[in-house]
C-alpha cells in the first residue's frame, strides 16, 4: 500500500503501546505476562496475539501528560474503558432495562440475580479457553481463591440452574439484567468499553424449534418496544466447527488461527492456515446463501448439512411469525464466547456499528455443571441502545420546580406533597435559582408564590432551543 519513504505514514498515537515498546516492557512480556505463550505461537502472517495490547492512547495508563499541567488530576482518574453515567444517560439505561424486563416478563420469564464475581475454576468450565484473555481475574484476599468478574451472564445462569433449579419442571424461563466486565475483546480487536450493560433471557430444558423461535420473538419484541426493527443475521455453530475439527487444521494452534481469520473474513490468511475453510468466507447474504452453501459444501460432513437444514427451517418459522423481519445469513460467522452449539444470531440496527443483540443455542453448556440439558438464550446490549437514544432524541422534559425563598412555608410544603402524591416529578429549589435549575434539569414549569394573589401560581419554563444540552421538546 505504501512505501518506506512515504510521508503519509505518520505515527499512530493509538497504537503506540506495544508489547515491546521499551526494553523494560519487552522483557516483562516474556517473563511475566501470561500472554507471552500466545505471542509465540504464530506462523504465517504475524498476527498480533489475541490477547495482545488494547488499542488505546499511551497516556491512558499514566498519571498525566509529561510537560503539561495535570488539569484533570489523578484524584478523579478512571481506568481505561469504564465511565460514569450521568443523569440523562443513567435514566435512559434504566428505562431500557425496565422495557426489556417488561417484555421478558410478558413472555413468562422470571428474573434472577447472579453475583458480580465468581470462582475462576467454576466459571471457566462454562466460558472455555476462548474467553480467558477477556476476563478480569484477581485473588480473593480473604480466601486466596482466584475469582473473576463476570464477563457474561449465560455461564453464570448455567451454574445457577445446576445449583438450585435442577428439580423445577422444564422448560425454565429466566431473565437477567446488569453489567458485565471484559478486560479485552476475545478476538483482540480494540475494545472501547470494558463494562457492558446487558439484558437477556435463557430458555432451558428444550431443544425444540419452537424454543429457538420463542427466543428470537422475545428479542424482536424487546427491540421493537425500544423503537428498533433489527436485521437478524442467522448463523450456525454446526458449520464451522465440524469443518475445523474434521477438516484441514490438525492442531489447535492452526484451528485457533482459522477461527480468527474467519472472524474477520480474511481469505488470504485463511488460505494459509486452513484452505478447506475458505469457501465459508463468501457464504453470507440473503436466503439464497443456503442453496449456494449446499452446493459448495457438498463434500462437507453430514452435520454441516443438518445445520444448513436447521437454518432453513428456522428461517421458515421466523418469516411465518414475523413476516416483516429482515433476515440475512452468514455461514462463516465465527465470533462468540464459544458455547454456542447450534444456530446463533446477531441483531443489527441503523446507527450502531456492531450487533446490539446476540443469542443462540448452547446445548452443552449445562453439561459443564453436571446437568446436561439443552438451552437457548439471547443478550441485548442495552448500553449501546441507550447511548444511541440519547444522541437521537433530546431528553424528555417533565415535572415542576417548587420555587420559594422560605422553603418551610406551609402551603408550599403541602403543595409539594400533593403533587408528589399524584406522581408528578417535583423538586424544591430556592427561588432565585429556580429558572436556571428548571431549564438545566428538564422541568416543564415552576410553581411559586403568586405575584398577584396570596396563593400559588404555575408558570411554564420557556423551552430553550439551540445549544442547551439535554433539554428540548417534550417527546413523551
Amino acid at each position: 500500500m505504501t512505501t518506506p519513504d512515504d510521508p503519509r505514514n505518520a505515527r499512530d498515537p493509538s497504537r503506540a503501546e506495544t508489547p515491546a515498546s521499551t526494553s523494560v516492557s519487552a522483557s516483562a512480556s516474556v517473563s511475566g505476562s501470561p500472554n507471552a505463550g500466545a505471542a509465540t505461537s504464530h506462523v504465517g502472517p504475524a498476527r498480533p496475539a489475541a490477547s495482545g495490547p488494547l488499542a488505546r492512547p499511551n497516556l491512558a495508563g499514566s498519571a498525566g501528560i509529561a510537560g503539561l499541567p495535570d488539569r484533570s488530576g489523578s484524584a478523579v482518574r478512571l481506568p481505561f474503558g469504564v465511565a460514569d453515567h450521568l443523569p440523562p444517560e443513567a435514566k435512559a439505561l434504566r428505562d431500557h432495562a425496565e422495557t426489556t424486563s417488561r417484555i421478558f416478563e410478558l413472555y413468562g420469564y422470571d428474573r434472577v440475580i447472579t453475583p458480580l464475581f465468581e470462582l475462576n475454576d467454576v466459571l471457566d468450565r462454562g466460558l472455555g479457553a476462548a474467553a480467558r484473555p477477556s476476563v478480569f481475574r484477581f485473588v480473593d484476599p480473604a480466601t486466596g481463591d482466584v475469582v473473576v468478574l463476570r464477563p457474561d451472564f449465560t455461564a453464570q445462569i448455567a451454574r445457577l440452574v445446576a445449583a438450585h433449579l435442577v428439580e423445577r419442571p422444564r422448560p425454565l424461563r429466566l431473565y437477567y439484567e446488569g453489567r458485565v466486565a471484559r478486560a479485552a475483546d476475545p478476538l483482540g480487536h480494540g475494545l472501547l468499553t470494558r463494562e457492558l450493560f446487558q439484558a437477556g433471557i435463557e430458555l432451558i430444558g428444550t431443544s425444540e424449534p419452537w424454543a429457538d423461535l420463542e427466543v428470537l420473538s422475545v428479542g424482536l419484541a424487546s427491540l421493537s418496544a425500544l423503537g428498533h426493527a433489527p436485521t437478524i443475521d442467522l448463523c450456525h455453530a454446526g458449520i464451522v466447527d465440524p469443518l475445523i475439527d474434521g477438516g484441514a487444521p490438525h492442531n489447535q494452534r492452526l484451528a485457533k488461527q482459522a477461527r480468527e481469520a474467519l472472524a474477520v473474513k480474511d481469505p488470504v490468511w485463511l488460505q494459509t492456515v486452513a484452505p478447506a475453510l475458505v469457501p465459508l468466507i463468501d457464504l453470507y447474504g440473503q436466503r439464497e446463501v443456503l442453496t449456494r452453501a449446499r452446493r459448495e459444501l457438498r463434500a462437507a460432513p453430514k452435520l454441516v448439512h443438518q445445520a444448513i437444514d436447521e437454518l432453513d427451517s428456522l428461517a421458515d418459522l421466523l418469516e411465518a411469525k414475523h413476516p416483516t423481519v429482515r433476515l440475512t445469513f452468514d455461514l462463516g460467522e465465527q465470533r462468540n464466547l464459544g458455547y454456542y452449539t447450534g444456530f446463533f444470531f446477531h441483531g443489527y440496527i441503523e446507527g450502531a456499528s456492531d450487533a446490539v443483540m446476540v443469542g443462540g443455542r448452547y446445548d452443552h453448556l449445562l453439561e459443564q455443571f453436571q446437568t446436561p440439558e439443552p438451552a437457548v438464550g439471547l443478550a441485548i446490549d442495552i448500553g449501546t441502545l441507550a447511548g444511541r437514544v440519547l444522541r437521537a432524541w433530546p431528553r424528555a422534559r417533565s415535572g415542576v420546580v417548587m420555587a420559594e425563598r422560605d422553603l418551610r412555608r406551609p402551603e408550599m410544603v403541602e403543595e409539594t406533597a400533593r403533587r408528589r402524591a399524584t406522581g408528578e416529578r417535583t423538586a424544591v429549589v430556592a427561588a432565585d435559582d429556580a429558572e436556571q435549575y428548571a431549564r438545566i434539569n428538564g422541568f416543564l414549569s415552576i410553581c411559586r408564590k403568586s405575584t398577584t394573589s396570596s396563593g400559588l401560581e404555575e408558570i411554564p419554563v420557556i423551552d430553550p432551543t439551540g445549544d442547551e444540552p439535554h433539554v428540548a421538546t417534550d417527546v413523551g
Binding site: 512480556s29 504475524a46 495482545g52 488470504v268
Partner: protein
C-alpha cells in the same frame, strides 16, 4: 431513492488504482482522484445508487469503517494487521502489492543480537513477530525514513514496507525475511454489511467480476 452510503478511500497512489478497479466494476467514482482540496465527494452510479466518498489517510480508513461512519472502504493489509480493527475484510483487491519485511545492514544479523533494537512504523507487528520467535526486541517507533535508523545506530534492523527493494539498496540495507505479503483489501462495517446486504454484496460481486476479467486479460496476453 436509495440511501446514500459512505465510502472511505485512502488518498495517494492507491486511490487511482481503486478508482480504476471500481470503475471496471460499474462503480464509477468520476474525477475524485484528481488533485483537489475537496475531501468529500458525492457520487451517483446507475447500478449501485448514491455514495459519499471520503478521501482519508490510508491509516485512518479502518477507524471510519469500524465505527460505521463509512459502510465500506479500502485499506492496506499492513494497516489491518497493525491495527486489528473490528471490520470484515472478505476481498483481496490484488493491487497495492508489497510486503512487510525485515531489513538490516549487510553483515548484521538481527537474530544473533540478544535484544535487537528494531525501528518501524508497525510497532505491533514488529514486536509480536520478534516475540513469536522468542526474541524480545526493543521497538523504536518512527513515522518515516525508517531506512536511516540502522545507518546511524538508532536500530539494529527495521521492519518496513518493501515494494521493489530499491530504497533499501540505495541506503545500503539488505532485505531479510518477509513477515507477510500486503495488498489492498475491501473492508466492510459489520452492521452496514447486514443492513445493506443487497447493495454491498452487489458491489463485492461486481468487484470480483472485475478482478476476474483483469486476470483473464493477463492470461490471454
Amino acid at each position: 431513492m436509495r440511501e446514500v452510503l459512505r465510502i472511505g478511500l485512502p488518498k495517494g497512489r492507491v486511490l487511482a488504482e481503486t478508482c480504476s478497479l471500481f470503475g471496471e466494476a460499474g462503480l464509477d467514482l468520476g474525477d475524485i482522484e484528481k488533485p483537489t482540496r475537496r475531501l468529500i465527494h458525492e457520487v451517483e452510479t446507475l447500478q449501485f445508487g448514491r455514495f459519499e466518498v471520503l478521501i482519508l489517510r490510508a491509516k485512518d480508513v479502518p477507524a471510519y469503517v469500524e465505527h460505521g461512519v463509512c459502510a465500506f472502504g479500502v485499506a492496506g493489509y499492513d494497516t489491518l494487521v497493525e491495527q486489528r480493527p473490528n471490520v470484515l475484510q472478505p476481498l483481496d483487491l490484488a493491487f497495492g502489492r508489497c510486503r512487510v519485511a525485515i531489513a538490516h545492514r549487510v553483515g548484521v544479523d538481527p537474530w544473533r543480537i540478544e535484544k535487537p533494537r528494531i525501528a518501524t512504523k508497525f510497532p505491533r507487528i514488529a514486536g509480536d513477530y520478534f516475540l513469536s520467535r522468542g526474541t524480545p526486541a526493543q521497538i523504536v517507533e518512527l513515522s518515516g525514513a525508517i531506512e536511516i535508523a540502522p545507518l546511524v545506530g538508532l536500530a539494529d534492523a527495521i521492519v518496513d514496507i518493501v515494494e521493489t527493494g530499491e530504497t533499501l539498496r540505495k541506503n545500503g540495507l539488505t532485505e531479510g525475511e518477509t513477515i507477510f505479503e500486503v495488498s489492498a483489501r475491501l473492508i466492510f462495517n459489520r452492521a452496514s454489511l447486514r443492513l445493506h446486504m443487497d447493495r454491498l454484496r452487489g458491489i463485492q460481486e461486481a468487484l470480483v467480476g472485475a478482478l476476474a476479467a483483469r486476470s483473464g486479460g493477463q492470461t490471454s496476453s
